[in-house]
Symmetry: C2
Subunit: 192 residues, 2 copies
DNA sequence: CACATTCTGAATCATTTGTTTCAAAATGCG
DNA sequence: CGCATTTTGAAACAAATGATTCAGAATGTG
């Protein structure tokens, strides 16, 4: 009976995500968003909701993209340690090539303390990466690529913290070698 | 001849810093600030300047406080490794006790990419901590508290990145043991 | 086709934003 | 004291903010 929604919602969310990603939640205005999404604010409020709701949809979208990336990596037929090393190296490339940082990390520091919904999404996302890493490390230990004296859970937490720190380091110092050296050292420690 | 400034400027900066620290730059309004500082906005614009200038003064104040803390630690008559371990343990306590995170880290992610002045202050602050850590690690190596096979500069970068990551981890997971375990592991690796 | 229903666009809303104005109050110096 | 000078407080500014309104356009179903 009715008229259908004219705009591609996922595409619009993608556009909105990019703006939030760059400017942060508080730094982004409704005009910024509707401009990027190429829709009118009435359409936004009609289909998605207010700014907060849109933001929730955006980080959810972001974490889904990350999740798909991890799934893809797991399916690789490289060895566990190789997958792990590839993951770290890709992270380093990402950190040191794009000016913008990781949206999950930025959001954690900007709004996670005030918005429980956001915090919960980020928590699930973190646990997801955690499981991904634990899985790989455990497999690598079983295949004797990593020493069985290592603690997989600790190592996973360790790496995740390190990655976050690398983002900040690169924002402030813009020193790619710094990051590469740390990554190389971490991989070296891992591989013996 | 003239009337004197009535309010304590350093006290006012301290108040403003606390608000910025909690709410971030974009999340803080001029009213938030003048309320906390207990001054009128005309006084603010008369003595300090606009919001940006005030923010610069605030992180500058923040990094000065940090600097003083490092100076104090250096003067301790404990051994280099002991000072280092104390520093890490204090950081862990700070991270896992206060709800709010480190202002320098939050600011790096929120505004450092857009504001060169801010980025420069944070960079100097980072280099300061870096020197502090390198000094301690080098001394510890000379006193044979740390193996001379370690790379001091790398270790310093490593620790700084880790600390940043711990802040994010605690915001998202609120798991103090996670942080404590990582710290313990790091200290353990250091001490042999 | 025709109609009921939904979506869209432009305009507009009330607040809030960062900032400024200016008269009145305060203060040091002669 | 009295004047010149500066700070203060309340009010107000224009612009931007998040959000809503509503007439008209669009569309699937009968």
């Amino acid at each position: 009976m009715p008229r259908n929604v004219a705009f591609n919602e996922e595409q619009a969310i993608q556009y909105a995500m990019e703006v939030f990603w760059e400017k942060g939640y508080n730094g982004t205005s409704l005009r910024d968003l509707t401009d990027a999404m190429k829709i009118n604010s009435s359409s936004l409020y009609n289909t998605i909701g207010d700014k907060q709701e849109l933001f929730v949809r955006c980080i959810r979208h972001y974490t889904e993209l990350r999740n798909k990336d991890l799934q893809r990596r797991i399916k690789s037929n490289a060895s566990p340690l190789q997958i792990l090393i590839q993951y770290i190296n890709d992270a380093v490339t990402l950190i040191t090539s794009k000016a913008n940082s990781c949206m999950a990390v930025k959001t954690a520091f900007e709004v996670a303390n005030k918005d429980v919904r956001i915090k919960e999404i980020l928590k699930l996302d973190g646990e997801n990466t955690y499981r991904f890493l634990c899985l790989l490390i455990n497999s690598a230990i079983r295949q004797k690529e990593i020493s069985d004296t290592e603690n997989p859970e600790l190592l996973a937490d360790y790496l995740m913290s390190m990655l976050t720190g690398w983002y900040e380091s690169y924002i402030v110092h813009k020193d790619a070698d710094k990051i590469r050296n740390m990554a190389q050292y971490f991989i070296h420690q891992l591989s013996k």
